[in-house]
């Protein structure tokens, strides 16, 4: 049973999920959010600079003592101001990757990493030091002092340090911002696996739509301290009316079943209601569900089943709706591919030349390379 | 176990008492004697607060009498000497000087002990007033915390001349330098010095032995040699 000043367990069959009903006010800013988030998987926090993303993470971590409200994480109540309950940060079993790496300047990289690791029971350690350092490519830095590291190196050490506490929830404030593409490519799949294996919820602040789409199950869009939109990734990203900066990044996320491997051409076929796409060979057993994103700008439309091109994926679709896009030159075309929504971003001229209108049957061309690998 | 005697003594006794203690120890080799020198006023304050002194040799007799009246003494106040003050300089022969000469600014700074709480300073002030130069020297006076420090101001040359205890001027180190002029003891109240056994010393046989030793001819001879006039004896050199 938890200690009396530790997290309070609610009724035994307590519902999973994260309930955040918090508010805190600064001189010129006020955060006021009411969110119900899933108890596992990645929730992406979007929003412009200054919209309150960091503040929200800090409230969840218990680092803003002035915050009032209710916070429950998978049945554990961490804060309930009405009841006077406030679990201090060190009892919340969370991992926090700060926006600035914030390494301890008096400890070597190794001792920074061990700081959290040594404070959890050996039995609770799900990530080993060797694993974390290998993943983040920092083995050769272990004996360095933090002031001898580059910006990206510091950031990676900060991430490894948080992972090593095997937390029950992970708060990440733009952890990949300072990393180069190759490193991101290495870390992203690990984070995906992490969230599969550790089965913990992750709150993830990011500006990069790519990252979010790849990782997130849920998205929350903040604006001036309030929740502008929140919900399941596919539903939220497909909403064309979002007053956002993301229409250029418009697209949908589709889940497909691994149906076939083509070992000669190193390809894998993913089936989903309404069609199939070929992607790079995936290391996944047949039948497994994989997620991929279809960027609106990677989808083109044709009035017939075009042959003799390098475009591998052709799907029959029915046009649902045509709406304005981010520039006057473009429109977003929302379609239905046998139950799976798709969005294409094409020029208005093409739309008129092809005489697109709701209900019309067309072929969607998807460059396979635009799919998530 | 050896008996220990702790003595608080006025700074003018520094050299004389050291010799007396040496003589005493050659006779009573079993007794340990510690002497702490300082200003008479400070010791009086400390004894009121329970300082662990067995004997208190003041540079005047008023302080021990006050302690006796306050019930802090084991026995009556005993006078043990009359002190004398002298003019002394390190940089010139002071033996030809008189108090009136101090009005001459060429002599530089004049050191005296603090008249507020050092008996030797009090007497120096009285003598300067009686000689009619008190006002004339005002701007050039510097005060030592006790009479030994006053001597040291002069000895280091920072004061051109000073009024110090004869007992210090007769110390071999100082005696080699400069010279001194005895100040007429008619110009000031007598420097009657007294000591007490403190209440704390009641029952300390060694303390009583040392007190008695002050009457011994050996001790008296040393005192005389340092220019003290002993009770019942008259005149100085």
């Amino acid at each position: 049973m938890p200690p009396t000043d530790g997290p309070r367990q609610d009724a035994p069959g307590a519902r999973q999920g994260i309930r955040i009903r918090l508010e805190v006010a600064f001189a010129d800013f006020r955060l006021d959010v009411d969110l119900d988030l899933p108890g596992r998987g990645v929730t992406a926090l979007f929003g412009h600079s200054g919209s309150g993303k960091t503040t929200l993470l800090r409230c969840v971590a218990g680092l803003e003592p002035a915050a009032r409200g209710v916070l429950t994480v998978n049945g554990e109540c961490w804060q309930d101001s009405a009841r006077g309950l406030f679990v201090p940060p060190h009892r919340r079993q969370l991992g926090y990757v700060f926006q600035e790496a914030s390494l301890f300047p008096h400890l070597s990289v190794r001792r920074n990493l061990e700081f959290g690791l040594r404070r959890i029971p050996a039995a609770a350690r799900k990530v080993s030091l060797a694993q974390a350092t290998a993943l983040l490519g920092i083995d050769h830095l272990l004996e360095r002092m933090p002031d001898r590291l580059s910006g990206g190196e510091r950031q990676r050490v900060g991430m490894a340090r948080a992972l090593l506490t095997s937390p029950r929830i992970l708060l990440m404030d733009e952890p990949l911002a300072a990393l180069d593409a190759r490193r991101k490519q290495e870390i992203l799949p690990y984070l995906e696996r992490l969230h599969d294996e550790l089965d913990i919820p992750v709150l993830y602040v990011s500006h990069a739509a790519e990252e979010v789409v790849r990782l997130a199950d849920h998205v929350v869009m903040l604006g001036e301290g309030r929740v502008m939109a929140a919900g399941e990734l596919r539903a939220t990203m497909a909403r064309l009316d979002l007053p956002t900066a993301f229409t250029e990044d418009a697209g949908v996320v589709v889940e497909g079943r691994v149906a076939e491997h083509d070992d000669h051409y190193h390809l894998t076929r993913l089936d989903f209601p309404g069609g199939a796409v070929w992607v790079s060979r995936q290391v996944a057993e047949l039948g497994r569900m994989l997620r991929f994103r279809v960027h609106a700008r990677d989808v083109s439309l044709a009035d017939h089943q075009v042959e003799g091109t390098s475009i591998v994926n052709l799907l029959p679709v029915v046009i649902d709706e045509i709406v304005g896009a981010d520039t006057a030159a473009h429109v977003l075309v929302k379609m239905d591919a046998g139950g799976t929504p798709l969005v294409a971003r094409i020029t208005r001229r093409s739309s008129e030349q092809l005489v697109l209108r709701p209900g019309r049957r067309m072929w969607a061309q998807i460059k396979s390379v635009a799919l998530l690998g | 176990a050896e008996d220990t005697v702790t003595i608080a003594a006025a700074a003018d006794l520094k050299f004389a008492l050291d010799e007396i203690v040496a003589a005493y120890r050659s006779r009573q080799s079993g007794d340990r004697v510690e002497v702490i020198y300082g200003s008479s006023g400070k010791f009086a304050t400390q004894i009121r607060q329970g300082a662990p002194f067995d004997l208190y040799f003041s540079a005047d007799i008023a302080y021990p009498r006050e302690l006796e009246a306050a019930g802090l003494a084991a026995g009556p106040t005993r006078p043990y000497a009359l002190g004398r003050i002298v003019l002394w300089s390190n940089s010139r022969d002071a033996s030809a000087l008189r108090l009136q000469d101090l009005a001459d600014p060429a002599l530089g700074r004049i050191a005296i002990a603090n008249p507020r709480h050092a008996p030797y300073g009090k007497r120096a002030e009285e003598a300067l007033r009686a000689a009619g130069v008190w006002d004339a020297v005002q701007g050039r006076l510097v005060q030592g915390e006790n009479i030994a420090q006053t001597a040291q101001f002069v000895q280091s040359g920072n004061a051109g001349i000073g009024i110090i205890a004869l007992s210090l001027a007769l110390n071999p180190t100082l005696a080699q330098q400069g010279g001194y002029a005895l100040i007429d003891d008619a110009l000031h109240e007598p420097l009657e010095q007294g000591f007490i056994l403190t209440r704390r010393a009641a029952g300390n046989a060694a303390a009583a032995r040392f007190a008695d030793f002050m009457q011994d001819e050996v001790a008296r001879a040393i005192m005389r040699r340092y220019g003290f006039v002993l009770p019942g004896e008259g005149g100085a050199r």
Partner: protein
């Protein structure tokens, strides 16, 4: 150093003992005060800070005098210690320790306070997210980061105690092996015109202190700045 008498040696020994004991107590007492001052948002912060700093402005003789009155047989502290069977503190080693601690407290609290403030709150927040409770953070994050402040506090506290004179003059009584510390011993030599002895003692102190300070300086935490 054949020129130092055994009495001088015991003064040296007593001084080191006094300074060491006092410094240890000063750090133990001063650190929590400094921590509280650096972290609190209480309205009393200013008042407490000022009270702790007060011994600074009182001349040591004044502190000594009031300590003498307070710890004497008629003073409140004296009556308390006597009732407790400890006896009176003035003219004892314990009394000197009490005096030194009061006298030197601000010299320990101020640098440590500054060092704690310079840390900022971020390292402690980070430590909390890494499961370190308040005590754990204090010992493993705040203390090491405040190291330059502690070095300074130790130097100032120790040295201030070694150099103490006024307080000792008032409440010490200059008793060999108990309260005659080096500062008073040198003073006595000087007053007795024993300049050679004074020079030896002062020179020895100086040389010794120089070496200690050099060692401390060599080990100062070099890098400055905030979080890496």
């Amino acid at each position: 150093m054949s020129s130092l008498s055994s009495a001088d040696w015991s003064a040296v020994w007593l001084t080191l003992k006094l300074a060491t004991v006092s410094t240890v107590i000063l750090l133990l007492v001063g650190t929590p005060i400094a921590w509280w001052l650096a972290r609190t948002r209480s309205k009393w912060k200013g008042v407490v800070g000022a009270v702790v700093a007060l011994p600074l402005v009182l001349p040591p003789t004044v502190i000594g005098f009031y300590l003498l009155l307070a710890m004497g047989p008629n003073g409140p502290v004296g009556q308390l210690t006597e009732a407790l069977g400890i006896g009176l503190l003035p003219f004892s080693f314990a009394g000197l320790v009490v005096g030194s601690v009061i006298y030197s407290l601000p010299f320990v609290v101020q640098p440590v306070h500054n060092a704690f403030e310079a840390i900022g709150r971020r390292p402690l927040e980070v430590a909390a997210t890494l499961r370190a409770g308040p005590w754990d953070s204090f010992f493993n994050v705040a203390l090491p980061l405040a190291r330059p402040g502690f070095v300074t506090a130790t130097i100032l506290g120790f040295a201030h105690t070694v150099g103490e004179f006024g307080v000792v003059l008032m409440i010490g009584g200059n008793i060999p092996d108990k309260t005659r510390v080096v500062s008073v011993a040198i003073y006595d030599h000087v007053e007795a015109l024993e300049y050679a002895e004074a020079h030896w003692l002062a020179g020895g102190m100086l040389a010794f202190s120089f070496l200690v300070l050099l060692a401390l300086y060599g080990r100062r935490y070099r890098t400055g700045g905030g979080l890496g």
